[in-house]
């Protein structure tokens, strides 16, 4: 099989995971490259999870939460937003392309929105190619 981007998706239980479920229930077709990990709230996503994901061979990381104002726990997603912008700066300094990490919002009723985010991200990461560090590791060894 030719190279396929591997993207880890951290999805909050209440909105985005259900949005992803809805995409399935409604049999919307979407690229199978995003592999989901369920957390109760996007606020649970630690920056180390994302770093670890890249270390373990991910080509991209997608974090999805409820729309601002809709977090099941009121404001977890605002915390995520702040944390992610810091992390993105740090990743940029490390030379990780911006498109490899994405934070977005999907409600439980937005199966179609989920699909478009997943497809869009998959294509962008595909265009970037395998994550550099990974391919180097492969080369070395």
């Amino acid at each position: 099989m030719s190279w396929e981007p591997k993207i880890v998706g951290f999805l909050c239980n209440w909105c985005s995971y259900r949005g992803a479920d809805l995409a399935g229930t409604a049999r919307m077709k979407c690229s199978p490259n995003v592999r989901t990990i369920r957390v109760m709230c996007s606020g649970r996503v630690e920056p180390t999870f994302i770093l670890k994901a890249f270390q373990l061979g991910a080509d991209g990381v997608l974090v999805l939460g409820c729309h601002p104002g809709d977090c099941h726990y009121t404001e977890g997603n605002y915390k995520t937003l702040r944390r992610m912008s810091l992390l993105k700066k740090m990743l940029a300094q490390l030379g990780v392309e911006e498109e490899r990490v994405r934070l977005d919002w999907v409600s439980a009723s937005e199966g179609d929105h989920f699909v478009s985010i997943v497809n869009d991200m998959t294509e962008k990461v595909r265009a970037l190619g395998p994550f550099r560090q990974n391919s180097e590791e492969e080369k070395h060894g």
Binding site: M1, D21, G43, L56, Y73, K79, S107, A108, S109
Partner: protein, 653 residues
Amino acid sequence: MEPKIGVYVCHCGSNIAGTVDVEQVAEYARSLPAVEIARDYKFMCSDPGQDLIKNDIREFGINRVVVASCSPQMHEPTFRHVLQESGLNPYFFEMANIREHCSWVTEDREKATEKAKALVSAAVRRVYYHQALEANEVPINPNTLIVGGGIAGIQAALEIADSEHKVYLVERDPSIGGHMIQLDKTFPTLDCSACILTPKMSLVGAHPYIELMTYSEVEEVSGFIGNFKVKIRKKARYVDEDKCNGCGVCQEKCPWTADSEFDVGLAKRKAIYTPFAQAVPNIPVIDKEHCAYFLKGKCRACEKFCERDAINFEQVDQFVEIEVGNIILTTGYKLFDPTPLTQYGYGRLDNVLTSLEFERLVNAVGPTNGKISLKDGTEPKSVAIIHCVGSRDANYHEYCSRVCCMYSMKFAHLVSEHIPEATVYEFYIDIRSAGKGFEEFYNRVLKEGTTFFRGRPGEVTNVAETPEEKGKLVVQFEDTLVGRQRRIPVDMVILSCGLEPQQDAEEVARLFSVSRSADGFFLEKHPKLDPVATMTDGVFVAGCCQSPKDIPDTVAQASAAAARVLALISKGKVEIEAATAVIDEEKCSGCRICNLLCPYSAISFVEDKKVSRVNEALCKGCGTCVAACPSSAITQKHFTAEQIMAELEGILV
């Protein structure tokens, strides 16, 4: 105890096995660390499927279970129960969602199988680190919120309140009643709609267990099943509800008018108004947009004539906060607006009406006192009723609105009853009369002499081609039973418009964390087996907000939702996730970052020990503090860093 993992890959008939090579996934699972047994089976959720797990626990000492099947939202409780029944802690379970997130979103067998393997490997590695937990129980607040005061909301409110549990019924219009109060007769029995509804409305208004809030809307919702906090905006009526006795003098004296919403624009109402005579509550509101005082700064006629000093131009919107254990959404539907179907001339041609307009026209207390009349005041001698306007139409709504065939035939009957010499034509695609007494009603209307033409009209025009067509509306259509184009001249055309989601259904869905189906209506938890619950525990749906339906079905669903709520109230408690946060006091540096972060103020600082501590009763388990702790002193049960890292490792194999 050393983990011994059992992995069960579900075929879900062909739902999964049609796309994922389930045998290969099971084979792969066998190669994963600590996996003792891996099987694939047709339906894991079935009794034999569950027995497989139970047997393996008994015979092979399996002590951790992974089921790869549907979304955990569907069957996590089922399988946790299986573990419990076998004497294992239910948290030694993990589900891999290889259906909604895998087999249903792709047709590529190879990629789907790869993804399923990754998800299984993640679940296996995660479950390895699971710990035994005890579920928390929370009490159910016995008060219920019902949003929308149509027949669905009224029915549900009465069912619950009659059992002496408090209901808050929130309706955004000045009165309850919904669409049903606008209808004339109801198919198939032809009872007068108001006659059967107003007694229920009065009961609601007077019920000691119902707090009715009309002209009100829900602004904010927080919390969970058992304990929701809801903020409601009571819009300013500019009439003091405690003082007003509903005498109606203000409405008589008000010199300003606007189109009546209740009469769908066919009549006027005053700027201070109750929408209709039997309004509940019988307290008017001032419509700021049309009140001379608000527009021009003078008038105040209503104030002058009100003997009880009930008019208060200074009133402002009020906010009320309530606490409830459960919520039922009964926000109903909106009638499809036929204006975009320009070929039917609605809004352009006189005497082309929507179905709701016709309901008002034929109503004895409507704008014409029940006289079916044309714009010029005369009676129509011929009426065309066009079915499926906006429904079963790829350009608008693909779905069938379910009530239009029946109400169209009701109209045919009403026209014949009011104007015996009139000819009525029904233009239909298919007649859908499935329901108790419905087919019989169809036969009755046929016998009464209504003509049925099979074919969706292409046009309604006032351009005459023959002398008979002069001054008439001409319905042009292909008669699909004879296979030719025909033109039928008539005096009146009624468009049987479909039912669509409320304009603000999207915002309301978001507010209450419910999903919507592709057609825009609220999504029930399960299309067959759980048609009144939603994905959010403690939030139920009933009536046309869930899908178009007639009154009997609406009432049945509303009663069902009420029964579900009553069951929860009577149990008095519900189990919720045990995924709370705990702080390791050894590691805590006492920085207090988490104290401020917690949206529930569940973390406090223990002064003498200089550490933070989580109050588990208040913690809702979001995990935000865990991710923020600089000393990694906080763990979230069931979502520990160790577990998530293991999952990551597995998902990226």
